[in-house]
């Protein structure tokens, strides 16, 4: 195993005390003693989520990157699966022809075949969050925190206490998230700054500027709103909620759903969580989606931070392009003209939920779904799921 600090490659006997014989620094993990990960795997995962140190990231992203690496490792025996399958077929032929020894072999190999098949088809994570947390604590003890991990600073006062005029202005667009940690990811990476964008969580984070920013958003009748969320019950209802609640954007702005939904699930197998509740259709969720959400959840953190940021840029640019085209094609009336949300219904159904007419009808006009944001290029090398799956 290689030491990630000095690069020295040592045998297990040389590092039985958990210390590198070359630099005398501690290893965080020892796969030979049953740890599911090595220091090198963790290090590679950190480099991946931080885009080689150029992006700020949250520990949840690291969790999923480690899970992804473990899943990739377990998927490797696909070749074995094929070989075992062929041997089973040969043995089966032998057994049919009455060879007892072959029948015995069959007893061993057929369960092996099905176990490998199970590995291949397993959708949920291989490492629980609790186990990961323990591993992460050990990593911190051995290596310390990475400088690009997001650490919130305690908020002492609202910026408005210093700047009296800030509340008079507004934003071109808003991204509303279902989780505070997604807000952290975007803000810590200056997404708001690069896109003149408010970033809030639906539950009120960040607390300091939250109410001020929400009032500021009301000052722009041409606001663009994006909902960014997990594929969970709460997440999949987010866009609908934003479009229909008076405290948010009812009657003011169309909401574009750019979050994860069940229709995006395919590239993320192996990273699902088990759902703990039975989900019913309605509030922006179709019957088909409800079925999936009753079995699984998929967190946005399963996507690398770099990809989330890139997809959000893409979603915003699509909106800008659409508006530029619309401006060129049509003449609008003036600053106070409010977007007519009933004139131009977006499709909410995407590839999912041809049933659930109730929800679909409510989507029309108020909401649109940017189904491309995470799924369209998932097969590209740089796609929505890291070329994963």
């Amino acid at each position: 195993m290689k030491c990630i600090r000095c690069g020295h490659d040592c045998k297990f006997k040389e590092r039985e005390n958990g210390v590198c014989p070359s630099c005398n620094r501690r290893f965080a993990f020892e796969p030979r003693k049953g740890d599911p990960v090595s220091d090198a795997l963790f290090d590679a995962a950190i480099k991946s989520v931080s885009a080689e140190g150029q992006l700020r990231w949250g520990v949840e992203s690291l969790y999923y990157d480690v899970c992804r690496r473990l899943y990739r490792g377990k998927r490797k025996p696909v070749g074995c699966l094929v070989i075992v399958g062929i041997i089973c077929a040969v043995l089966l032929t032998g057994a049919v022809l009455g060879y007892a020894a072959l029948a015995l072999g069959l007893i061993v190999l057929v369960p092996l075949f099905f176990w490998l098949l199970f590995v291949r088809l397993r959708c949920v994570v291989w490492l629980t969050q609790e186990k990961f947390n323990k591993l992460y604590d050990r990593w911190l003890a051995a290596h310390g925190p990475d400088k690009s991990v997001i650490v919130r600073k305690p908020q002492v006062q609202s910026p408005l206490a210093v700047e009296s005029d800030l509340g008079d202005y507004s934003f071109d667009r808003a991204i509303i998230c279902d989780r505070a940690r997604t807000v952290d990811l975007l803000l810590a990476n200056h997404f708001h700054f690069e896109n003149n964008c408010a970033v809030l969580s639906v539950e009120g984070y960040p607390q300091g500027p939250f109410e001020t920013v929400r009032k500021m958003l009301k000052r722009n009748p041409r606001l663009e709103v994006f909902a960014l969320h997990d594929a969970s019950e709460e997440g999949c209802k987010l866009a609908w909620r934003l479009a229909n609640e008076p405290d948010w954007f009812q009657g003011q702005a169309r909401v574009t759903d750019v979050g994860l939904r069940p229709c995006h699930e395919k590239p993320f197998r192996g990273l699902f969580l088990k759902s703990e509740t039975r989900v019913s259709a309605g509030g922006g969720i179709t019957e088909e989606e409800a079925k999936w959400l009753s079995r699984y959840k998929l967190e946005l953190a399963a996507i690398r931070p770099e990809q989330i940021v890139k997809r959000m840029f893409r979603a915003i640019n699509k909106k800008i392009d659409a508006e530029t085209r619309a401006t060129a094609a049509a003449r609008f009336g003036g600053f106070e003209t409010t977007h007519d949300s009933s004139s131009d219904g977006g499709s909410a159904s995407g590839d999912f939920g041809e049933s659930g007419e109730d929800s679909k009808r409510q989507f029309d006009g108020l909401l649109e779904q940017d189904v491309d944001s995470f799924s369209s290029d998932a097969s590209d090398s740089d796609g929505g799921a890291d070329g994963f799956g």
């Binding site: 200056h190 700054f193 009336g333």
Partner: protein, 580 residues
Amino acid sequence: MSGICGYVGNAHPDVLERMLDAIDYRGDGKEVATAEGVGLGYRWWTRRPGKSPGIYKEGPHLVAVAGTFAPPLDNPAKSLMRRISPNIDDSLDGAFAGAWWDGQKKRLTLIRDPFGIRSLYHANHQGVFYFASELKQLLAIPGIPAEPDFVALHKYLTFSFVPGDAVPIKGIHRLLAGNSAILEDGKLGIALYFNLEERIDPQFEDQKIAAEVIGTSWREAVAKRLNGESEVGLFLSGGIDSAGVAYFLKRLGVKTRAFTLDFGERSVEKEQAECVAKKLEIPLTHVRVNGSDLSPILMDLVWKLDLPFGDAVTGPQYLLCKAAREASLSAVFNGEGGDQFFGGWTNKPMISAQLFGDLYGEESSEELYLRSYHKFYGLEEPLYSAFFKDQVGGPGTRRAHLKPYLQHEGVSTFLNRVRLADISLKGSQNILPRAERISNAWGLDARVPLFDRALAEASFRLPTQLKLKGACEKFVLKLVLQNKLPPEIVWRRKYGMNVPITDWVLGPMRQQMGELLGLDSLKRRGYFKPEYVQNLLEGRNDPHETRKRRIGEKVWALAMLEAWLRVFVDGRGKKPGGAT
């Protein structure tokens, strides 16, 4: 157009000829005047209205002025003495740089216009004080060193221009906009004579009054910059600022010909420019620009720009000016300044950063402002070689350029503090000097009516909500124009002019970029890490960056710097091959 130079001390008068010859594209006439221990030089286009017809001499006084006042006077040099002595006239405005030698008091006074359209540099060499309109004139002085100033280059890589009084040649300084300098008894004293102050006027709470006052000032600002030309040019982008200038030129009955950039299918505002021209019945010329058009002009552009300017818009602007010159025009108006004075889109990122910026506790307003230039701030580690880092020597003083504005205690609103920073840095040290030099490259006078003293002062009397109303930018300008131009021009949401520079530098300009920034060139210069630059040249973005345009912007900024180093450090500012 036009330029001046001079010295105080024991210099050979021939040096004036050398300094004037270095800017032979600034006019067909030249004159030198000397007295004991002093010499002045002046180059100008004869037969153009509003220019000084030569160096003004009156008793012991010698005065040389490049440029024009607003409103214009027949002989700026003659009137300069009276307008700046004993005190500088409060209404002094225009695009000028002047030098006045008082032989009685043995005193030299230098002065630049309030916003810095005209430039003035100075240096001490072997006991002689020299000054000139362009850097290349100072480099024409025999023996003056042309060593790069690495701290200034470091700033260029953040701002895309060099801010402050330093220039990227050691020992040469510039007089900042709105400043005057007095050299007496060998000592140089510099004083600010113009700065903007926030004086919010309650009567402007009434939008109608505000729109009337700003509309009147805007019209007068355009009128003050007319100089008797039979026809003027206008760079019409399709945005509200240049559209407004077009409207007022039309109202003033000025024969105008408009020019707009055409990037083919990558054009952003072509239709809007056409719409304005049609509405105002102004002839419009589309200037088609592609990457292949820029390669042949690159070295001339770099030479004429005089200082390194790293924004990709300079190439297309050069071709716009060429088209205006080919149409036999001598003056061109533009709409620069609307964003800076009236709350353009550049405020928005700073507002956003101010609201959310304190959550993770690592970046000040100044740092975020530096980031907004989208060049190499924060990328020093991957870009800078060990040698370059050593030469820079530390984090530098980039933030210090912003503090006087962003932490200005006399300005009550955040928006106006950001405005001040934008006007003083981006406006006075980037947009205006480069516009003047690009226009001058084609013998054109740049007229920038939104950088007008009275209009600027009026803008700082407005409540900030009339600049940025909600998310609506430049609201008061829209009120001024709302019944005068089509609503889709006035109320359109602005996305900025995007020069398709990435397509160009990775496409038709690839060979030239490869020569300027290839391994051989980088190794010879030794400033940058080749792997970082190669990544950009191969079209790969920084990992945290998604916008393709940033690749081209960075490649262009680095290429312009390398070209500038070749012309001004290696070549001491002499006319390079490829220059016209």
